[in-house]
């Protein structure tokens, strides 16, 4: 079963990406996680990191008119920072991998199965 591991990060985590003192640890952790998924045969190679929420733009079409809003679709403290697509047997296996994701400790990780098309 394919699952999306959705990485939700706090503002502080996003800040670490560019902070000279912390960025090596930050990127190192994600790169190690991605490598681990591949190595263990559960990674699909699909996934991506996303630029921080300030770079997000939200579009809605209502009554035929397009609304463009500066920022992500919901104003929550933790925001989507990226995702990994893994292929595992069941939810327990997916949860075990989600636990190892760097943002599990400081932010949140959502685990959601992909639609089988």
């Amino acid at each position: 079963m394919k699952y999306a591991i959705l990485v939700y990060e706090t503002p502080d985590e996003f800040a670490a990406r560019d902070d000279e003192a912390r960025r090596d640890a930050y990127w190192g952790a994600y790169s190690a996680y991605g490598a681990l998924l591949q190595q263990e045969g559960v990674g699909t190679g699909q996934g991506a990191g996303l630029k921080p929420p300030h770079a997000a733009t939200t579009v809605r079409v209502r009554g035929g008119a397009r609304q463009v809003i500066d920022g992500p679709f919901a104003d929550t403290k933790e925001q989507l920072g990226g995702f990994f697509i893994i292929d595992v047997a069941d939810l327990d296996a997916a949860l075990a991998w989600a636990e190892k994701c760097p943002s599990a400790m400081r932010g949140s990780v959502e685990v959601r199965p992909l639609l089988e098309m």
Partner: protein, 413 residues
């Protein structure tokens, strides 16, 4: 028609004995419990139509399994487009496989229990799910036992089954390192089936048989599946002890009898002995836990069957240990009651008031006020005791228990 009736009786017996096994096997691969339930109920309906004409099959369980399996396949096919030829072949193969494996239907119920108690399932849904899927209890009965609106309970069950299917919660037995947490959730869900809707704290039984039979069945099944898990044995021992004393909780006039006034000749000795044997086995496994401790407390109370007084110090000690593992308002209350016997009412009253500070919810709880009243009376504070009995009475609905409380209060006038 006797054929129709004997068919109905056979189907009923299979439903009682094998519903959960059939359902677990049907749903194991797709994790779709709702579809399996529908297919199985259609299979039972078909049996009631067909068996009176063909006579009962040699392997009625296998017949039902194969029939339900066919309906599941049909249902799946209707949901997808597929080539007719491939379908026919696949269908034939599956039918044969179904017929063969049905004679030795693997028991997937333990896996189903774990799925029902999965951390990803809402806590309020776990016990209802177990009752409905393993035992076929109706949503209405479950709702009544849990004091929830039937429609709300149905929704809860629908949502939980959807999660099992869509989130991919498997019926696999957890890995050893996940076992302790996962099996504890199963045990707690079974415990909730026994205690839910039961206002009993210090033995004030509201004569609510409710779902206790079903809970005991589940506990027996779990103990059989996991004979090396000390807490599984402890849980069953606890239930057996409590059930053994049920016949003595009301006197012949239907009045409530507290533990120390019960007629021990009415206790079910065979269940007590079985419970004791289980506790002994559990002790040998050297993994103390909350259910074994609670069973040990009941075992201590059961000493009265030999004409001995319970060892109140030991009971208080057990309660203290339970509180260290899983503190709760009710266990605090029971601890105070035991302490009153081993240390005296004043010490117990002090602790009781501390417990009320720590767990304000105790203020809504009839047994808290009843105990407070009892302890105040024993220290000679009769006015306080009467006031506490009044508080207890306003919080009780069972007329038999109210009568008992009134009687106790009257003795202070």
């Amino acid at each position: 028609m006797s054929d129709a009736r004997s068919a109905a009786q056979l189907a009923e017996r299979i439903a009682r004995e094998s519903y959960g096994r059939l359902l677990a096997s049907l749903a194991a691969r797709t994790r779709d419990l709702a579809a399996a339930e529908d297919a199985l109920s259609e299979a039972f309906a078909a049996a009631l139509r067909v068996w009176p004409q063909t006579g009962p099959p040699d392997n009625p369980e296998g017949w039902l399994f194969a029939a339900a399996r066919r309906k599941l396949i049909d249902g799946a096919r209707r949901a997808q487009t597929a080539l007719a030829a491939q379908d026919a072949l696949a269908r034939a193969a599956e039918e044969i496989e179904a017929e063969m494996s049905a004679s030795a239907l693997p028991d997937r119920r333990l896996g189903l229990l774990f799925a029902c108690a999965h951390p990803a399932i809402d806590e309020g849904a776990r016990t209802p799910l177990m009752l409905q899927t393993i035992l076929g209890v109706s949503a209405e009965r479950i709702a009544a036992a849990f004091l929830v609106e039937p429609s709300a309970m149905s929704q809860r069950l629908v949502r939980a089954k959807k999660r099992i299917r869509d989130a991919g919660i498997s019926f696999e037995i957890p890995e050893p390192d996940a076992w302790p947490v996962r099996i504890q959730a199963v045990q707690e869900a079974i415990y909730a089936a026994y205690t839910e809707g039961w206002s009993d704290a210090a033995g004030v039984d509201a004569a609510r048989a409710g779902l206790t039979d079903e809970a005991i069945w589940l506990a027996r099944a779990l103990a059989a599946y996991t004979p090396d898990d000390a807490e599984s044995l402890g849980l069953l021992a606890l239930f057996l002890h409590l059930e053994a004393r049920r016949p003595a909780r009301r006197d012949p006039q239907g009045r409530y009898q507290p533990l120390d006034r019960q007629d021990v000749s009415l206790w079910r000795k065979d269940w007590i002995e079985e419970a004791e044997a289980l506790l002994l086995r559990a002790a040998g496994l050297r993994r103390v836990g909350r259910f074994q401790l609670e069973a040990a407390i009941q075992s201590a109370h059961a000493r009265r069957r030999h004409g001995d007084d319970p060892d109140w110090r030991a009971i208080a000690g057990f309660y203290a240990a339970v509180i260290a593992i899983s503190p709760s308002p009710v266990t605090q209350l029971n601890y105070c009651a035991a302490l009153a016997r081993s240390e005296g009412p004043s010490a117990a009253l002090t602790l009781l008031d501390e417990a009320a500070d720590r767990f304000p919810i105790l203020g809504d709880y009839q047994p808290f006020w009843a105990l407070r009243a009892h302890l105040c009376a024993r220290t000679g504070a009769n006015a306080e005791a009467r006031a506490a009995y009044d508080q207890a009475i306003t919080r009780e609905r069972d007329p038999i228990v109210i009568a008992y409380l009134r009687e106790q209060r009257a003795q202070l006038d």
